[in-house]
Amino acid sequence: MPVEVSVVIPSIGTSGEVRGQRRVFVVEAVRSVLATTSSITREIVIVAGRDMPPAIADELCALDPCVRCVRYDAEFNFSATVNLGAAHATGTHLLLLNDDTEATTDGWLQLMLDAVNVPGIGAVGARLLFEDGTLQHAGHTYRTLLGHVAFGLPGDTPGRDGLLLQRRSVAGVTAACMLTPAAVYDEVGGFTTLLPGNYNDVDYCMKLRHAGYDIVYEPAAVLYHFESKSRITGIKPFEVELIQRRWLSKSLADPFTPAFI
């Protein structure tokens, strides 16, 4: 049976505390995906950075036959790790997923598939919540600063006219959880390795829009993203310069940021 979704998760096996319990993020992320997507033919490709302990890689591969690890031994470059996983993937769709995420309800991946299988859609993002239930991601906004719509508001914030609770076109979505057709990924050359840390997802979404695709936010697909709310992104001048050199006028013309932001 052909693989419908390849879940690509870059990781170095980082541990942290969630709901008072210590966990290896990637292990719990994979467990949660396996537990909530059994109705879909999928494979999980872990791109294991050189710092990942072999025991964690072994544990991951033992979780399910559909899980496999690909080694990435070069310097950190998020885009390169995602590209490596995508190059090894066999599915018709790629789900790019951060290792510090957790899916808790069935149906989220099918909702994302339904959204991305509409002609002309290049990528779909999910509603991502911090551990405390507030919004980490409800679509990108590029109108002024490059950032997240409604960041830090309560997770069920409806927005004006319930806009944040509707499937809607957005300027872009985060690579922390992004579903994109493999053929589209191939068409635009994947993620740019010129942006190893920040804005690679912004660049990917701009490439999609440049190629004529729309990007959609699906709020009914909900996952947790345990990124720290106070995370310092460490954006570097060259990252800002590159993204502006490529997309400044198009990003300022973001037509999708709601007026209430």
């Binding site: 590209n83 490596l84 090894h88 635009v188 050359g189 994947g190 740019t192 390795t193 050199r245 400044l248």
Partner: protein, 95 residues
Amino acid sequence: MSEGVDEKLARWAQRDAAIGLDAELNETRVALTARDDEIVDLRARNERLAQNVSQLMTERDALARQIDALKAQPRWQQISRRVVSAGVRISRKGS
């Protein structure tokens, strides 16, 4: 023959570079057009300002000529004008 991982990554890198170059070209064209528009706007404003300066220079010259003319009036004309004015004031008080 199916494409290997390294070949695929190399092809993606080339494709990304081509898209990036095209995007930068577009952005540079947008910036160039913005500069052209700004130059046209500034030239129009510059022309209006030059017209304003020209008008003010004409008015200024007229005012300067008026000052010169006033300064050139004979002294007795100024005195007689004062005498006449004083006479008018006295006759008003008397009536």
